[in-house]
Amino acid sequence: MLKYFSATLIAVWSASVLALPRWSGGVGYEARLEREVNPDFVETKGVPQIFARVSWTSWEAQLEFSSEKGASSAGALKVQSQTVGLSGWGRYAFLEQKRWRPFAEWGAGSYFDQITSEFGASTTQSRGKRPFVGVGGGIFAVYWNHLLVETGARISFVRERKEPLAAALIRIGFVF
């Protein structure tokens, strides 16, 4: 996993010039398409996130943080999950002169899970992780030099899943 982060950072730094970086940050919403336990059915799940980004002309590096909870039961069996996602992304934004700029991105990260399984008096807590890598793209614009709006899509390949995770994203933020 460390090598993925290193590769991303090296790519960004190696492409940067002497331009001053611009920082931005904000909130986002990720709508994921996930196959259920019966893989013939697909469910959508919404996950909120916050992000921080630094941009050098067309190259950008972004950190994302997300949090989600889940609860399910069957009879007296109950399973609760709490997941924190942390990832780093390298991005390249095209068409520097345009208001709406398409971008391509790639990145890596991990989901950190805490699972609480209960049955009657028996309870067990487990901590696990699910590293992933992903690629994606989208389009963004900056209004009044500060208001960032963005939409995009990405596919993530999670180590503990057979199928990739597809997601659509929207973000809104402030450029400093």
Partner: protein, 395 residues
Amino acid sequence: MRIGIFAIFTALLMGCADSGQKCGNKVLALWPTEAGDYKFQEITLSTLNDPYSLSGGAAKIYFEALIGGGGFSGKVARPRFTRAGDLCVPMDSASAMAVSMYARFEHLLKFEASLGTLDMLQWPRKVGLDIHVRSNDGMTHNNAHYFGQGDSIAVLPYNLQGVPLGLNPGVMAHEHFHGHFQKQVIDPINLRLRPAFDAESLFYSGFHSAFAKATVEDLDRVDTRSARGLNSFVLRAWNEGLADFYGGIYSKNPRYFKDSLPTLENARALDARVREFMSAKSLQMIAARSVGPQPLVSNSYDQGAVLARVLFTLANSGVETPEAFLVRIMRRLNQIPEAITGQFELRVLEFGDVLPVLLRDFPLAAPQCAVLVRALSKELLTKNFPQCSNTSVRR
């Protein structure tokens, strides 16, 4: 240039996406302990190559799948796991149930291998969890069924507060046994009763199968005024009783229904007092008074419970180990069709008529005879177990 850099990095990332060790074959499953309570334990699945797709040598597990004449349709269940060290931890109750169910059938496979009865059935077994079907009695929850046509087990959704049916070892073993009875008893009887040439079936072969004669397990369509029709209910009683018995020996719990379906505890208790079977004449009287098959089906379960108690009591009477007695019973299942088919359409069988077949060559001393005296009428006892005729017990 930029596109090229992006393409190279993308290829590198995607190429590395699958690297690293995935979650192995050790899973966290809800499992009964030796003391009989249920705890989350690490279970190693030796017949499952890939825990992300529940299809292996022991079973194919389906979740919320459709079921038809050929069994389940669609793909097998894909549980969601997170990895904690080398342990796969299910992330939701559906995943936990599905993987625990696979573990159960792997345990059943090993149990049958230890008995030497593995070759009596086809593996992997097909099992569905949270299957949405409606029983003939209208139930959509808290039940499980074996479908002979597709050789599949369907567990309906469970909404009580006990052990889910799919996790109850005795219940799963009960349903699993129905596969044995289908193959060893029902299918051969249907084959024997099917006429070699039937002009009627020639005419109706192009029409809906409703016109065909009911098979012996099709209780909704039998003619309850005929011996053949009523014998289907006798067969059902034997099927359910033997399944109860198998479940009790496998789970080592004579009251395994209690954990999931407490209202059935006493009715299906294997360690309850043995009582006499209902007579064929009484069965005919019930049939004459009944509207629809449901009262007769209920009666079949009741008489099945009597058979199960007889067998369970004999299994624990000290002649041999319960498992050895179970093997004895299972090896004699294929003798039932020959013993009864000749009379199947001529007279209504007695519920106790299965015992002489199952207990052939079983040594009967006073304790064993005492059980049979309680269960059988004097006439049946004298005819089939003359060595027990002089045993008297208080009923």
